[in-house]
Amino acid sequence: MRRNRQSVGKEQIKKRWVSRRQFLAGAGAALTLPPLVSLMPEATARAATGKKVRAVLYVGYCGIDMQHLVPANPTVPTQAAPDILHKPLTSFGGAISRVIDADFAPVLPKMNLIHGLSLCGGRYQGHNATVLAGTHSQGREPTFGRSIDVVMEKSSGVYAPGDVVAVKALRTSDGLGSTTMSFECSGGVRTQPSFTFGDQNIFNQLFAGLKPADAEPEANPFPDQMIVDRVLDDLHALENNRRLSSADSRILEQYISGVQEVQGKIRANQLGLGPKCEVPSIAFQANTSGNSWQFPWNTQWGVKDAGALYDNIMDMIQLAFVCDLTRVVLISNTHWSNQPISSSSDGGIHHDCASSELAADRQKWGLKKMLRLAKALDQTSDPFGDGTLLDNSSMLWTNELGAWTTAHSTLAMPAVTFGGGGGYFRTGNYVDYRQGPLASSTKKELGRPYKQLLQSIMLSMGVPKSEYMNYGDGKGFGEFVQGIDQFGYVVGDAFAPYAGTHNDALPFLSIG
């Protein structure tokens, strides 16, 4: 079945596949026997006791000047607190800014436009590959903390023991060095999880191997599960072997991660998927062979339509959420147009944006892709809970840097959220956290620590504060430095008002 990528919505979910276990559960109901939870698909059984929340994180590159993102003159915003102003997004009418145009109207009630979040410290950081860890990249690669995709992937608050998905965190990137956005540090050593490049590889990771669940059960089911469990046991048996070198141990860790992913897929396949799960038919833009991303100048391998590629990716994310194949997605993307991905002018980092307006327009391209996904999620009922998938998602569109220019600034970071995070987030507002009413003019653009937004997202996903506090500079999640020291912009106590609350959720938006 070929899906029309122009109209993604629940009407597109045409196949209703029922797995063997679902079949058994359904048969039980038909015979008026009491439905046995033990016979339900695991995911369905969990849905009976708790909702699922999904996170989608999109990080662009190049930075953006906030005047292109936020309303020019928000008249009489409401003051929620001395340092928090807000105004409903629907009250602006039409286009809100150069970037937030009329296309966003359908989801304005379920998004937030946030002004006034800055990474603490702010010293020169080169290319900032640590925004999702709430740290600035002084020294390029800090050896503490972890990005929130990793935190969520490994949290039992997001994936309870026994939860089965195809991949706990789907990470994709355009491969031009943007995979550094995800990392974790342990013992002073920084490691990066693997990314999946191209839509066909993402398809394989999420959907390959899934069978129509309405197929006849196999008479003698092949013991895939038994075998992969044993392979994993074999690997775990090696973990403490003193004869593994450090290099061997690294391979072992990767190996285990890979087998766990296989295990998840097999379980998902065998236990049954969500009640409206569909394996999509996709016109792939990037095949599985060759370095389709990394050698974009080679027309043999290059992606010809980057817009269609990202549309495919967004569509697959929607369907993966329907099937509960993953709950954490990270997109790290330097690309900014539908043009073939190349090394010239179709993607890059902040050095490659020639003007403030151009930088804004390029960021708009990526935000529109997130908008596409948000709209699709909003048109899809959540198979595992009340409301739509968007209601139960926490989507963040942000950037490696704050203001455009080549200055590597991490002040005034852009942040647009979609989704209610399962009821955790207050939505539909332009929120201004700048300290304007309180602070001197030099602090006006700073606002609150950016990491509070990340903490809110983690909390919405079920990661407890006591857990995320472990991943940072020793003072909590990420990094908290009271002062600013960047390009002569020195404010020694800029974040001092938040010394006691920087590990909390972002106020006003967080209501869960």
Binding site: S194, N201, D224, L238, S245, A247, Y255, G258
Partner: protein, 599 residues
């Protein structure tokens, strides 16, 4: 050789350097860049004091690791950490083919195709070894496809599970597997734990072949099959902080994959089973036996073809007719690659050639009329080689490495490749900003067409910023300018207009003063001098020794490998046959022991 070689300044300070290359050049070098981003080669001052090359006493071995100092062998007992390697795609495919036949590869082709192609690191030339989740995700499909391929055919089932698998009573078939073919797959006897699980799978309430398929699927997914993990004897008490002795089966596995890129054959496993892989002489005998197999020869040829840049054919179809006049180009590029491989095979295995001979032999096996014309002899029609004409000789001056897709040779590519691979020089990746700036410095097209290729490139890269690297790259490429884009010898350069029509000629000037990795310069009159320097000099042999080590060890060397590489170097300088050098390298004492040192 009439060149001057002088010892000068050795190391400059590292700098993230720019290079001035055309877009295609820069992109290729971007891929090449990686670990060589920081290099001394382009910042060191090039000096000359007029000492004559070829007249000096042999210098000590001093090939360098990127950014490192000279190697010095101080403790022959040391060896760097030897990581347990995952089977590469080639190794897995070879293993499956050797165990189950070529049909198994076809059966598993879909999932094998999901594995990334094995590559040589463009900078270090060590084969890359990585393990991504997507790779692990392909293993179950491969295992199951092969297992299904086996159990759906009587003959194959019989080979793997024994005669009883075809009878009514299959009791005992799994024991046959455990005691026989299972050991071939895992390269050692199955452990009690493995036997227990295999028994569990075999005891499922299903037909025998279904259970047999499950057993085979498990074993082919086992990390002990896919990962050449080395743990030694559990009861071994000789372990210390530096490492431990390998079991004979682990030694067999090392030897087999090092030599053949495949699993141990039955003879090698039998030797391991009989504990006949403890003595160096026994090990060397096995290595020599395997080197002479088809897989052993292929691996050597692959590695030498990579080193000599003769492995990949280029598309010559767009060369203008004026350049290809008199040469049959149909199938020419493949013929070039095939001939180079045959040449390597003949030199290394038939003639037992030395490194010098490999670089100086004038033998040609060109059967293709076009290639024979390029090499200047009549097409070869028998097993006897022809003799190449002119000053062309050896592996490094064969067409595959000299050809180019455009009418003008790529002086820059030739220079970079030769410096990186043959001279072990360090060329940093190009700086995009400088590349962009250089584009503005190119001669106008109408002037460029009337200038010689050498003059055009020299002008293009004449700025100080460019000369940081092109001062090294260009002279190397200049020395090779006597070969046109077909790799054919030429006395003058044919100048072409925009449509490929001749508009004149330019003199060929192959004289060059080439900076060497140690900071000295080598004056040459052309390619033959340059190759002779590689064949004769301590540095040329040292670079080749380093490459041989990387090919065998599948990793970049560390200082702890100094002694092994120095031994190779000494053997090369002593004109030992290459096959002997390889055998000694693979079969040295380090093959008996897993070292745990820090890389």
């Amino acid at each position: 050789m009439g060149g001057d070689k002088v010892w000068g300044k050795t190391h400059g300070k590292y700098a993230f350097h720019g290079s001035c290359l055309r877009r295609a050049d820069s992109m290729r070098l971007f891929a090449l860049g990686l670990a060589l981003a920081f290099s001394s080669a382009c910042t060191g001052t090039i000096e000359s004091n007029g000492a004559a090359a070829g007249t000096e006493a042999p210098e000590p071995y001093k090939a360098k690791i990127p950014g490192g100092d000279d190697f010095v062998c101080t403790d022959p007992e040391t060896s760097s950490a030897s990581p347990s390697l995952m089977l590469s795609k080639t190794q897995l495919a070879n293993t499956l083919e050797d165990l189950f036949g070529a049909g198994a590869l076809e059966a598993a082709s879909a999932d094998l195709g999901r594995l990334s192609d094995e590559t040589f690191d463009d900078v270090t030339h060590a084969r890359t070894s990585s393990l991504e989740n997507s790779k692990v995700g392909a293993y179950p499909g491969i295992a199951r496809a092969v297992a299904h391929y086996v159990v759906t055919d009587d003959a194959r089932t019989k080979v793997v599970f024994g005669d009883c698998a075809l009878g009514a009573d299959t009791t005992g078939c799994i024991d046959t597997f455990v005691g026989g073919f299972g050991q071939r797959i895992l390269r050692r006897p199955l452990t009690a734990r493995e036997q227990e699980f295999v028994g569990l799978l075999a005891g499922q309430a299903a037909p025998f072949r279904d259970n047999a398929e499950a057993v085979l699927t498990y074993v082919l997914q086992s990390p002990h099959f896919l990962w050449r993990i080395e743990l030694g004897e559990a009861a071994d008490d000789s372990e210390d902080d530096t490492g431990f002795a390998l079991t004979p089966y682990e030694v067999a596995t090392r030897i087999a994959f090092d030599v053949t890129d495949s699993t141990p054959d039955t003879d090698l496993l039998a030797a391991a089973s009989a504990d006949q892989l403890r003595e160096p002489s026994d090990i060397e005998a096995q290595v020599r036996r395997l080197l002479d197999t088809a897989r052993g020869r292929t691996k050597v040829i692959n590695n030498l073809a990579h080193w000599s840049m003769t492995e990949t054919p280029k598309d010559l179809s767009t060369l203008p007719a004026a350049l290809t006049d008199g040469v049959d180009t149909a199938g020419l590029t493949d013929a070039m690659v095939d001939e180079a491989r045959r040449f390597i095979d003949d030199e290394v295995f038939t003639k037992q050639a030395t490194f010098k001979a490999l670089l100086s032999s004038t033998d040609s096996f060109a059967e293709h009329p076009g290639l024979a014309a390029v090499y200047g002899h009549a097409p070869v029609t028998s097993d006897a080689p022809a003799t190449m004409a002119g000053r062309r000789a050896g592996l490094l001056l064969r067409s595959p490495s000299l050809t180019w897709t455009g009418p003008r040779t790529s002086i820059i590519h030739r220079g970079v490749d030769f410096q990186l691979r043959v001279l072990c020089n360090e060329i940093p990746q190009p700086n995009v900003d400088i590349v962009s700036a250089r584009e503005e410095h190119a001669l106008p097209p109408e002037e460029e067409r009337l200038a010689s290729n050498r003059d055009a490139v020299a002008y293009l890269t004449s700025s100080d910023a460019c000369q940081g690297c092109h001062g090294t790259i260009n002279p190397t490429g200049f020395a090779l300018e006597a070969f046109d884009s077909l790799g054919r010898w030429r006395e003058e350069e044919l100048l072409l207009d925009e449509s490929g029509e001749p508009i004149g000629t330019a003199a060929i000037d192959t004289t060059a003063s080439i900076p060497l990795p140690d900071g000295t310069k080598l004056d040459v009159t052309g390619a033959a001098d340059l190759v002779q320097y590689v064949a004769d000099s301590a540095d040329g042999n040292a670079c080749f020794a380093r490459n041989l080590f990387r090919f065998v060890a599948e990793r970049v060397e560390t200082r702890a490998d100094d002694c092994r590489i120095q031994s190779v170097h000494e053997s090369l300088m002593s004109d030992e046959p290459l096959v002997d050098v390889l055998a000694a390298l693979i079969a040295d004492q380090s093959v008996l022991r897993k070292t745990m040192g820090v890389n």
